[in-house]
Amino acid sequence: MASLSREEVAHVAKLARLELTDEQIDTFTPQLAAILDHAADVEALDLDDVPPTSHPYPLKNVWRPDVPRHAGIRDAVLAAAPATRDGMFVVPSVLGDAP
């Protein structure tokens, strides 16, 4: 599966919201391919009957009581934000809607 195409790299950059130059894509493509080739040993393993581990230490049903607590950080956060107005964060026009 490895050996990555330039197009794939460009598509991934789009998903990751990175604006890569052609030069950067040219550098990244072989580097990423090399790493993926190194991962080929894992890719080759037959692990159908092996369960995945997403947490090294098995815990379950971790929750907290439904009790409100005011963090009181609003002003500090807004003061340090790139752009705010009327207690809100300002963003440029949003083209396209959320999924």
Binding site: M1, L4, E8, V9, V12, A13, L15, A16, R17, L18, E19, L20, Q24, F28, Q31, L32, A34, I35, L36, H38, A39, A40, D41, V42, E43, L45, L47, V50, P51, P52, T53, S54, H55, P56, Y57, L59, V62, R64, I73, A76, V77, A80, A81, P82, A83, F89, V91, P92, S93, V94, L95, G96
Partner: protein, 472 residues
């Protein structure tokens, strides 16, 4: 003076915290310019904190187990009102409105934060060369790297800037720089130390841990930061056994396994290998039963790690989008603002890992990459479990080589291979630490890695203490 000695003297009123801090600030002034351990030195804050400690002692109160002990914090630990940059342009100048849990515990224990230390951007690297603010240098030879990603913390302790430091370890980021700088570095069991307030790199692997010049100091710091925290859902809800009072229990009768796959891994230098052999002899001389053991699945560790860690990172680092905090590069639309901000804000290695992780998670590749890697984790855990049925601890090199020259490893894959010995413990969530054990042919420090089963930090520390004692 070690951290434990300082704390004892300050608590006893024999020594003022202010003089302790001043002494370390002098050490910082002497070498910080050439070593670049810190992104920020908190001179005034540290002196004020010291005065507060001295006032407590004068008033007959006990400031705690780390009374007056200067400590350096990796700059990916949140500190209220104090810049926390992760050595990234995208967070330059960002001041968290809250403290990490470990930071709260440190001040409750009387420790004094003297600065925020340099790291590979967002903890992605093994040399601290990926810092947006320039590399740190190895105090033993400034042409060499200190290792990474917690390079600044390792340098701070090795150079005597602070007797203690905190780092974070996702694939070896505490143990490897500890080894390269000749200090003690500890990665506790995953979930032992709260991650609340640690800026995430790879959430299922990240763990905060101590740097110190002695095993006892590392244990003292571990005892302060370890323990359940309701603000971290992956925090282990169990009492933490004390370590300090068991350090001198020795190793006689302990079963020590030399991990074959790690001792013979690709690129292990012969001088490093012979130090590991010497460590094995020292332990058997101290009464341990040392034997070789095979943990077959660890050979897949590096590949699994470089799929899992970037995948989680690609999601964890999505939030740096210029909307709420940190860098924003203006643009006519929000989409372009995202693209320009992230491209301008992230360095090449971070971009590379975000790309890799995005690819590993993307449609059609999940099963082959991320899914497979999560299953490899299961294999590694199983093989470790088998090994821990026959052994109490496992040992290996921490790093394949001693400190390498700055700029020597331009190829990303070559750099990743540094982590081959440290990664398996992160994937398994097991505790592991690096303890200095002599020097290599180049006279630079070599570290021995001691690994233990989940929650068995005590045995791990005992073995490390024995190795430390064998050198003395």
């Amino acid at each position: 003076m070690t951290a434990t000695e300082i704390a004892a003297a300050v608590r006893a009123g024999e020594r003022g915290a202010r003089s302790v801090v001043e002494e370390h600030l002098v050490a910082i002034d002497r070498r910080e310019a050439e070593l670049h351990a810190f992104n920020l030195v908190l001179r005034e804050e540290a002196l004020a904190a010291a005065d507060a400690i001295d006032a407590m002692v004068a008033a007959g109160h006990d400031p705690g187990p780390l009374a007056g002990v200067p400590i350096a914090l990796k700059d990916n630990l949140c500190t209220t009102g104090i810049p926390t940059t992760c050595s990234s342009k995208i967070l330059a100048g960002w001041k968290p409105p809250y403290d990490a849990t470990v930071v709260e515990r440190l001040s409750a224990a009387g420790a004094i934060v003297v600065g925020k230390t340099n790291l590979d951007e967002f903890a992605m690297g093994s040399s601290t060369e990926n810092s947006a603010f320039g590399p740190s240098k190895n105090p033993h030879d400034i042409t060499k790297v200190p290792g990474g990603s917690s390079g600044g913390s390792a340098v701070a302790v090795a150079a005597g800037f602070a007797p203690l430091a905190l780092g974070s370890d996702t694939g070896g980021s505490i143990r490897q720089p500890a080894a390269l700088c000749g200090v003690v570095g500890v990665k506790p069991t995953y979930g032992r130390v709260s991650r609340y307030g640690l800026v995430a790199f790879a959430s299922s692997l990240d763990q905060i841990g101590p740097f110190a010049t002695t095993v006892a100091d590392a244990a003292a710091l571990y005892e302060v930061i370890a323990g359940y925290d309701e603000r971290d859902s992956t925090s282990i809800p169990e009492a933490v056994p004390t370590v300090l009072d068991r350090l001198d229990h020795g190793v006689s009768g302990l079963r020590v396994g030399l991990v074959r796959e790690l001792c013979q891994a690709e690129g292990i230098a012969s001088d490093v290998a012979s130090r590991v052999a010497a460590a094995a002899e020292a332990l058997s001389a101290a009464g341990a039963k040392v034997d070789a053991v095979s943990v077959p699945a660890v050979i897949y560790g590096l590949s699994a790690y470089y799929l899992i860690a970037p995948a989680e990172a690609s999601s964890n680092l999505a939030r740096y989008d210029g909307v709420r905090y940190g860098l924003r590069v203006d643009a006519p639309t929000t989409g372009e603002m995202y693209d320009r901000t992230r491209t301008a804000g992230f360095g090449a290695e971070v971009e590379r890992r975000i790309m890799l992780g995005t690819y590993a998670l993307s449609a059609g590749y999940y099963d082959a990459y991320y899914g497979k890697a999560q299953k490899v984790r299961t294999l590694i855990i199983r093989d470790f479990e088998a090994a821990y049925e026959r052994f109490d601890v496992l040992i290996s090199p921490t790093s394949p080589t001693t400190a390498f020259t700055l700029g020597a490893k331009a190829d990303p894959l070559a750099m990743y291979l540094n982590d081959v010995c440290t990664i398996p413990s992160n994937l398994a969530g097991h505790p592991a630490m690096s303890v200095p054990f002599g020097v290599g042919d180049d006279g630079l420090p070599v570290g021995i890695q001691v690994m233990a089963n989940a929650l068995d930090e005590v045995t791990m520390f005992r073995v490390a203490a024995a190795l430390e004692g064998a050198l003395a």
